[in-house]
């Protein structure tokens, strides 16, 4: 059965494609079922618990604040430094403020938030659900009459949809502040002047672009992380594979989705 050369390649490609389609369908089902429980759970006497949602919001959102603040600040500062260095040749270094304001709110604020959440929660969620899967805890939920998606996925989805926009606002602010500190030193302007310039450049559409992306990222992160958890098999090694796969796929999904989004929003 050793297929070689082109046949082997096309066979692998086909299998990969089939797996991709399968994963996509699985994610869509997961999303549909989560939304079902969020909307109709109470009516079915299976409500999505507020307590569980708050707990997830803490894990996913609040605990990510320190790391996210530092990363966003650093990123804003780097953009300012690179921008000023590049634009200096044209004598247009003060234009850096426009660049920072729009690119951070449209693009990088939400991207950094997404990557931080993917790194922290993408692995943690997959590991938690994967462990439960292997210890038959998911089966235990099902035979107890508790829908695993309602109990485990729906609270995460709600938490992501609340926390991703919130974290994006924080990330935007910290990145702009980071850019401001560098501008203060390099362009010799006050922070007040800098912020005034930023606000005069920004339009509601810029902010909206980042916010809408953050919701899409939240959904993607939930589905990829929980999906990888549910499908984990093969003991400790399998769990390691599932968490790694989860983080890699989370970040890839975010970046690719971001590109597609930007393409349609700008062009």
């Amino acid at each position: 059965m050793q297929a070689s050369g082109f046949r082997g390649f096309s066979e692998r490609l086909g299998r990969q494609f089939a797996t991709g389609v399968e994963d996509f369908g699985y994610g869509a089902l997961l999303l549909a079922e989560s939304l079902f429980w969020i909307v109709l759970g109470r009516w079915w006497q299976q409500p999505v618990r507020l307590q569980a949602m708050v707990k997830e919001m803490m894990e996913i959102g609040v605990l990510a604040i320190p790391v996210l603040s530092i990363l966003a600040f650093a990123n804003g500062a780097m953009m300012a430094m690179q921008g000023i260095y590049t634009l200096r040749d044209f004598g247009a270094e003060s234009q850096v403020i426009t660049g920072i304001a729009t690119s951070v709110t449209r693009e990088f604020g939400v991207l950094i938030a997404g990557i931080v959440v993917a790194g922290r929660s993408g692995s943690a969620i997959a590991a938690r659900i994967g462990t439960m899967q292997m210890a038959q805890e998911i089966d235990a939920l099902r035979v107890m009459g508790v829908a695993p998606v309602r109990y485990l996925v729906a609270p995460i989805l709600v938490a992501m949809l609340v926390m991703m926009p919130t974290l994006t606002i924080l990330s935007d602010s910290m990145a702009i502040l980071g850019g401001g500190v560098v501008s203060m030193m390099e362009l010799h302007i006050s922070l007040g002047t800098y912020l005034e310039r930023v606000l005069s450049v920004l339009e509601p559409g810029d902010i909206w672009q980042g916010m809408s992306k953050s919701l899409v990222f939240g959904v993607l992160l939930t589905l990829v992380a929980t999906g990888n958890g549910f499908n984990a098999t093969g003991g400790a090694e399998g769990l390691g594979r599932a968490t790694t796969r989860s983080v890699v796929l989370c970040i890839s999904a975010i970046v690719v989705a971001d590109m597609i989004f930007t393409f349609f929003l700008i062009l």
């Binding site: 079915w44 299976q46 462990t131 038959q136 089966d139 099902r142 107890m144 009459g145």
Partner: protein, 272 residues
């Protein structure tokens, strides 16, 4: 006791008819039919790979049968709506092999969890109810421990308490004695008998331990390579003259009939 059981036996709690299941292309269960009466302890016995765990998963409704019919409490599980399933599950308790307690909760929270999800009782009542069940399994006072702090036998008993907390009329127990020393295993067997006598409950036990099966069973189903070898009382199984049952009882290794052609084909790995 036994006659009382026999009289109630007219309406089976579980009926399985001609169940055939596959794992990939491999047949796991082959034409399995069986029925379990009310108040009965049915032990499903078989070696590893006999299909007993698979059968249990189907009985629990974790898989839907493609071929054959499974009826729980007289209702075909393939025809149940999601909502009916949930109602039905409240009447079933399951103690999994490794306990399957939720690791992030204490023992007490684990036992209270079905009450939390399915009832509107106040916290205090739930606490009392969960303590009652923990008393039954001799785990009173351990409710504040985490599952990782329990021994193997205690884990199984805690799982049993969680399975009992909704007062089910059907209880499943997967490998109660696996991984336990003989004394603890015997204690658990006694506990199962006590629960059957104290509560009106039918019990399905899946095990590979002979002694345990003989001690607790009203009837035993012997599974081998996905087929039912026999269903009968403890004595009937003990005195069976079916060779494979005898092998299982006397723990002689099974001699597979060697087919020279097949053997060669396996070795050379030629694909058909």
């Amino acid at each position: 006791m036994m006659t009382a059981m026999a009289q109630q036996a007219d309406r089976p709690v579980i009926e399985v008819e001609n169940l055939v299941t596959y794992y990939g292309r491999q047949k796991v269960l082959d034409d399995v039919s069986l029925s379990i009466a009310e108040g009965e302890i049915m032990v499903i016995m078989g070696g590893s790979g006999s299909g007993k765990s698979t059968l249990l998963r189907y009985l629990l409704g974790l898989h839907r049968p493609d071929n054959g019919v499974i009826r729980l409490f007289g209702r075909d599980i393939n025809k149940l709506s999601g909502r009916d399933w949930m109602a039905l599950r409240k009447k079933m308790g399951v103690a999994f092999q490794g306990g399957a307690l939720f690791n992030s909760m204490t023992v007490g929270e684990n036992v209270r969890m079905p009450l939390h999800e399915h009832t509107h009782l106040d916290e205090n009542t739930m606490r009392i109810m969960s303590r009652m069940k923990l008393e039954v399994v001799n785990l009173a006072g351990f409710e504040h421990l985490m599952p990782s702090q329990l021994s193997g036998g205690m884990l199984k008993r805690a799982a049993l308490a969680r399975a009992l907390v909704m007062d089910p009329s059907l209880l499943f127990f997967d490998e109660p004695s696996a991984g336990l020393d003989p004394v603890v295993a015997a204690d658990l067997d006694k506990l199962i008998l006590r629960i059957r006598d104290a509560m009106q409950v039918s019990i399905v036990v899946v095990t590979h331990e002979l002694q345990s099966a003989f001690d607790i069973a009203d009837r035993i189903t012997v599974l081998d390579q996905g087929r039912i070898l026999m269903v009968g009382s403890v004595d009937e199984v003990r005195n069976s003259d079916i060779p494979r049952v005898r092998n299982l009882l006397s723990r002689t290794s099974e001699e597979q009939i060697v087919n020279a052609d097949e053997y060669l084909q396996r070795l050379t790995g030629s694909v058909d």
